[in-house]
Symmetry: C2
DNA sequence: TATTGTTATACTCTATAACTATA
DNA sequence: TATAGTTATAGAGTATAACAATA
């Protein structure tokens, strides 16, 4: 038995904000980020690990500068992330024999295996995020988001 | 005359990231945020000002706690924001006569005028964000985003 | 002189804890 | 004792500046 008058009313966002595409995009993006961080943490991983491993999996050989450019991280910021991944045995850093300033970064076998595992987590997050949509609606949304990303960020050009 | 071989090739995001709805949502959300911040800065304003003023415009009278709940800010974080808005003469804080612990926050005339101005900026950002879509596509996207927001955040329930 | 990776530092945004005045 | 607002502090994430090795 609950006294309804004591149920705290949920505060509502202003309609003009709840209807603005840019505010909605920011909110959905934050929800996606929160879900991603939570899912990776539960799996004993960190989101940036997936991103770095995915970059290494698609490109032949990568220097730290190219990885940083793809992920839009500062090169100095990437150093610590790679240190962590290297410490876990997921990546390797070797000097480029043609240009000894460069490090050639590559996936280890353990890194490839970890990437496969993390892909499963990303799939679960995607499914959970879009759970309230039909299959057709999910395709539509994905297509529209991909077009917007391509329009505003050359890294997402198709 | 440009030597094409010197044009730096744009680094491409891994396909599995560029196709993931959650990663796309995060990216679009960040783009929306960057555009919003830039547009407000150019107009001599800050994004949180619009959000706070919009909350005050829709609700009758608001205490600081309710404003913080709607915007999901910590109450202590909100204090400094309101200080700034009050310093600019956009809002007023008065003691609640029925409960002297509370501040009743309300829009001033200048605040209402500023809100009208900022609404124009939000409209421009929305238009710019969706510029590459048709009118029908914009409506579709807005509807899908609104449904996702409602599904994951009670403040956006319809 | 310019570039790659590195280290150290600073800044922004937000979360936490402790305090006051009221209830 | 509990709550509203406030102050001060701490943390995560990222950006900036300076540096050594190499080109």
């Amino acid at each position: 038995m609950v006294d309804v008058t004591e149920l705290k009313q949920v505060a509502r966002a202003p309609r003009e904000i709840a209807e603005s595409p840019s505010f909605l995009a920011k909110r959905i993006g934050m929800i996606a980020k929160e879900k991603t961080v939570a899912a990776f943490e539960e799996a004993g991983a960190v989101p940036f690990a997936y991103a770095v491993l995915a970059v290494l999996a698609q490109g032949a050989c990568a220097t730290q500068a190219t990885i940083a450019d793809v992920l839009r991280y500062d090169r100095s910021y990437l150093v610590g992330l790679l240190d962590e991944l290297e410490g876990d045995g997921l990546i390797e850093r070797r000097r480029d024999v043609n240009d000894r300033r460069r490090h050639v970064v590559s996936l280890t076998k353990a890194g490839q295996k970890e990437l496969d595992r993390l892909r499963g987590i990303v799939g679960e997050v995607d499914a959970e995020l879009l759970a309230s949509l039909t299959g057709a609606e999910r395709k539509t949304l994905q297509g529209l988001l991909a077009r917007l990303a391509a329009a505003h960020d050359p890294r997402y050009a198709s």
